[in-house]
């Protein structure tokens, strides 16, 4: 349990740092300027931008959402994220960047349950194993803990660190969701406090 407490402390620190440094309105001039360029790029492509050049439009929108998140323009960020997420002609993998920003924004707004829902839903849409977001008994937690311990076996931290790098983008995205889930779950779980 020491490991889980450690994760909990680290997650709390990350949330604190995000809440102190990230959401300050126009707190970062570079990201303000970047957002202006991304916005101009979207404006150049115009209302038919998605049909003119979908890749550029997607990258501009994702980067703009991230820049707006960091510079504190959250309304614009939500508009951009919604525009990307609701498009039917974009694959779930291509929505990863805005989903990641959306979860980080939920963390900053202390909407951790929403962050969990989004991350789990994204993993499910990727077709990766996803647990149900429902209360679990201590028995279930112990069972999952034993499964994890067995999977780890006698591997040391060095063994794990020297594992080959992941190459499957879908799995890499799923792992990132697990990282973000650690932050959310550590904040909402009563056991951790």
């Amino acid at each position: 349990m020491k490991f889980i407490r450690h994760i909990s402390c680290v997650s709390s620190l990350i949330i604190y740092l995000l809440s102190v440094y990230v959401p300050q309105a126009s707190g970062n001039a570079a990201f303000d300027s970047a957002a202006a360029y991304f916005k101009a790029g979207r404006a150049v492509l115009g209302p038919n931008g998605w049909s003119i050049d979908q890749n550029t439009m997607l990258t501009l929108s994702s980067e703009a959402a991230n820049a707006c998140f960091i510079s504190g323009h959250h309304d614009t960020m939500h508009e951009l994220i919604t525009e990307v997420i609701t498009r039917q002609d974009i694959s779930i993998e291509d929505k990863f960047n805005v989903i990641e920003v959306r979860i980080q924004a939920a963390h900053v707004a202390k909407e951790f349950k929403q962050g969990i829902d989004i991350a789990l839903d994204f993993r499910e849409q990727l077709g990766l194993p996803t647990i149900k977001n429902e209360p679990a008994s201590k028995l279930v937690i112990i069972k999952e803990f034993i499964k994890s311990s067995r999977a780890l076996g006698n591997k040391t931290a060095e063994d794990i660190a020297s594992l080959p790098n992941l190459t499957d983008d879908r799995v890499i995205m799923g792992q990132r969701m697990l990282e973000l889930l650690c932050t959310s779950t550590s904040q909402v779980s009563d056991i951790m406090h």
Partner: protein, 173 residues
Amino acid sequence: MEVNAKDVTNNVANILVDKLNRLGESQKNIIMIAGSLGGCFPKSIICTIVTSLSEKDTDQLDWHETLPSIDESIDELEKEGILEKDTNENVWRFSHDRIQLAAFELIPPNDRDSSRGEIGNILLEQLDDDALEANLFKVVSLRNFAMATISDDDDRRGLAQMNLRAGMKVIVL
């Protein structure tokens, strides 16, 4: 009696702004381009733009007369106190923000955005890769002023991608 340095500077700026209207045609042409480029500019960029404009068939302004007199005109503008040398070699700047604004306003209001767009397009065509990268923000900003006039989808795509590059670059810097 206390002398207010800011007022003195502003009065000098007013006098220099008046001087702009009395400049010769070549000097006016150069100062209008410089005013579009912003507070400071390399002389080489002015040469590139004037050369390109003199090659184009434009009857609005006589760029053929301006081309051979660029050095002379810039020296004259420095003597008049309108421009001053920057610490970087071959880079010049306006001696006051208001002079730069007044220089830009010599361009008729309806032509300002299209002029800036044209200057941006010339720089895009004429600068080599390194020079373009060094002037990326300037070129993108100039071209953005004329975005409403772009009708070709490939041109739209090109400018959108330049904005993407500029945005990514400003984050990394």
